[in-house]
């Protein structure tokens, strides 16, 4: 069931990606310069999925891994150094709101397809995805780090498209007193994201 959901989600992401790239390609002939890369302030919004598995017996939910939203706002110091901050919501077998610092830079200047690097780090706060009437489960978040590389596709409009692949390390903990278990978890997921930058 979870795998099926992922396939649907993956298909949607691919569809968005293809349509975004198509838009970028069709716009290439209209203008060469990105309208966003030279602005001092940037905003980015991304979604993604984080396939992986946990293989423990908790909730039988090892395949769950979504990056529901990742919203950043920041300042461009120059082409190679952007610094921002923002919020993200990630879903594993628990949910994690995270506050993140965002550092990124672009390799090229004013190209239709521009490679970039990114590093996000922050701290996630955990919450339970299931409402248990007798819930005594204690969830705890932890620090995260997320290096990524990607491509920015110049749409020559208000926003450019970001496609990236990264790897997310997220610490968390789970205390289940009913089963006398304390789990120290390190989520380590490939994170494929799609988004927009303004």
């Amino acid at each position: 069931m979870i795998l099926k959901k992922f396939k649907i989600y993956f298909s949607l992401v691919c569809l968005l990606l293809v349509s975004g790239l198509g838009s970028a390609q069709s716009s290439t002939s209209e203008a060469e310069n990105s309208e966003t890369i030279n602005k001092r302030l940037y905003y980015s919004a991304m979604i993604g999925f984080m396939p992986g598995s946990q293989d423990d017996d908790f909730e039988n939910s090892g395949l769950r891994g979504l990056n529901i939203i990742n919203f950043m706002i920041g300042h461009r110091f120059n082409q190679y150094a952007h610094l921002g901050a923002g919020l993200a919501l990630d879903i594993y077998d628990m949910g994690l709101y995270s506050f993140r610092l965002d550092f990124r830079g672009f390799i090229l200047k004013e190209k239709n397809v521009n490679p970039y690097y990114s590093l996000q780090t922050g701290y996630g706060v955990a919450f339970d995805l299931n409402n248990r009437w007798d819930d005594r489960l204690e969830l705890k978040g932890g620090p995260l780090i997320h290096p990524a590389i990607g491509l920015m596709f110049n749409t020559h409009k208000a926003g450019d498209i970001l496609v990236e692949a990264g790897y997310l390390f997220q610490k968390a903990a789970r205390n289940d007193p009913d089963r006398q278990r304390f789990d120290d978890i390190l989520y380590q997921r490939l994170n494929i994201r799609l988004g927009l930058i303004f």
Partner: protein, 416 residues
Amino acid sequence: MKNSIHLIALLSLSFFFSACLKDKCEREVTYLKATPVYYNLEEIRNSIELEASKTLKVPGKIYYYNNYLFINEQKEGVHIFDNNDPQNPVNLGFLKIPGNVDIAVRQGILYADSYIDLVAIDIRDISNPVVLHRVEATFPQYGITQEGLLIDYIYEEVTEMRDCDIDGIGIFNEQIDLATAESTGVLNSSGGNGTGGSLARFALYDNYLYTIDYSNLHVFDISQLNQPTEVNEVVVGWDIETIFSYTDKLFIGSTTGMIIMNAANPTAPEYLSSYDHFLGCDPVFVKEPYAYVTLRSGNQFCADNGNQLDLVNITDMSSIYLEKSFGMDNPHGLSIKDNTLFICEGDFGLKAFDIEKPLELDQHQLAHLKNIQSFDIISLPGTNGQILVIGTDGFYQYDVRDIENPVLLSHIPVEK
């Protein structure tokens, strides 16, 4: 368009590659770790010998034979005392018998368990005991493995981090009962037999030695005293604890009831009747028309259901029934001398009751020795009025001819 194809191919590849990705999850688990202890079987079998006298450390059952007092040191052997002068028992030495819990003596031959074996030892010359015979591998509660004889487990609480996907987390509270000492042995005292206490797992009757493990009754022919031979093994039930021989009947105590076996045919005792009680440890002593059964709580084997003395009417031994129960503190072994019932109350001392009217015994408590610990007792036959009491704090010997004013004859303390 080429870029799009490359990117989709990359994403697809990474999606399938992602099947190899796996979170790390470590689980803190706290559990009781059981580490097996193995002994070399040949070394065990060659190590029975009389050693120099030692102090008591962890005393087990007591046994009396021909003015000699035997005090078991749990799973190590037997302290031997010359008790001709009850006020001054003389420690003669320590008979090392690895794995020993129970003994019985007939005509100078001591029968002892040594882990899985039954050993016959000639003690007629007490200063030079000689092993006469060994019935090998007759008690099944110890396992023979490639590493040796599994004789015990060392338990320790362990907290450690383990991979979350490993379900098994060691051995939890594994309880392999390796004959912890809770028996001593009231033996039929005819024919040159010794006398034990009510917690016995050995009993003598006719030309037979009866022993119990946790489910079976073993029958050994000892008509040739120096060569005991196992002639039968009878399934009795689960969690068997004690055996008491009375006439041609065997009263067997288990954690869930008392069973009477008819030993009219001594080689093949047969089930006669039983009565069930709540889960608890229950030594038995018989004085017709009642079987006196103590039930206690307080450890993992005895559960925690209560402490009482049951009077089971055995007038018709094929149809026995509980007639009355009396509340107790923590009753262990018991004994009867004439009309006096002695009950070891563990940390609560030793009590004596007049049982001329058994159903009113609670109204006739004769004495309560509160300042000793006791788990088993032997009341010696004869007119000297001697009782022998063993507890976790040592061995006591009293003169109870004036039962309301018992006189302490001697005390052998436990080394602290």
